[in-house]
């Protein structure tokens, strides 16, 4: 499923210019420690986190996740937003915690 379709199905709010229509969601990874994410997340995972800083954008780009979803409405700082737009990383926000969001992604990807 494409990222933009998943976002629409689950009601996420788009924060970046890029909507991830060119990226496939193949799985999901939850985590806030950046090296942990780089060590364990797989390419094309949707990354659920509360880390909305510029380093998270670098991690998303280098680890090649398909999108970032900021859970529990975690803040995205302005610098990070600018970098995400430049690097074409899709970022969405949801009010739900990581657990519920991950469950919903699992259900959507199975359907």
């Amino acid at each position: 499923m494409k990222i933009n379709e998943l976002a629409e199905a689950l009601g996420w709010k788009k924060l970046t210019d890029c909507d991830g229509a060119d990226r496939e969601a193949l799985g999901c990874y939850c985590g806030d420690l950046l090296s942990w994410v780089m060590g364990r997340a797989k390419a094309d995972d949707v990354w659920l986190t509360v880390m909305g800083n510029i380093n998270a954008i670098a991690v998303a780009t280098l680890a090649d996740v398909s999108a970032i979803v900021l859970v529990e409405s975690a803040a995205l700082d302005a610098e990070a937003l600018a970098r995400a737009n430049q690097q074409e990383v899709a970022i969405y926000a949801t009010e739900l915690p990581a657990y519920e969001t991950a469950l919903q992604i699992a259900a959507a990807l199975k359907a």
Binding site: N53, N55, L62
Partner: protein, 144 residues
């Protein structure tokens, strides 16, 4: 002589610029049509190295040699050196300060990740003088 040599200066204490060098390498390897799995491993391993130089060494230098069959990454700093390399290689062991942890770093996974994603890694570190770290990632590696 490698097919392509890339050189970068990694500024110290600037987390906003960490990742520029590895991002550029990723971009160039993509343009060269390099194996995507190898590109991802190079990008992550090199970013972890950059971050280490920013956190611990006041910056340093990165030299990347690209050949059709492998990418060699040399990271050179003149920081405090690593007193106990075996300890530093353990997952979860970190000397990163609290301000760095609040950014999401300092989980003690940097060097383990670099070892995980490279095919070969050597660390040459002298306390008080600095660290030279070499990683090789093969284009066709048995690693995932």
């Amino acid at each position: 002589m490698s097919m392509l040599q890339l050189k970068y200066s990694v500024p110290g204490d600037d987390f906003t610029r960490a990742g520029e060098a590895s991002g550029d390498v990723k971009h160039k390897l993509k343009k060269l049509g390099y194996n995507p799995a190898a590109i991802r491993r190079v990008a992550i391993a090199m970013y972890e190295g950059e971050i280490n130089m920013v956190i611990h060494a006041g910056g340093g230098e990165a030299i990347v040699d690209v050949d059709p069959d492998k990418v060699e990454i040399l990271l050179i700093d003149h920081g405090p050196g690593i007193a106990d390399v075996n300890k530093a290689m353990q997952e979860g062991w970190s000397t990163a300060p609290d301000n760095v942890r609040s950014l999401g770093f300092g989980a003690g996974m940097g060097l383990p990740n670099m070892k995980k994603y490279s095919d070969e890694m050597t660390i040459d570190s002298v306390v008080g003088q600095g660290t030279t770290l070499k990683m090789i990632v093969y284009a066709q590696s048995p690693k995932p």
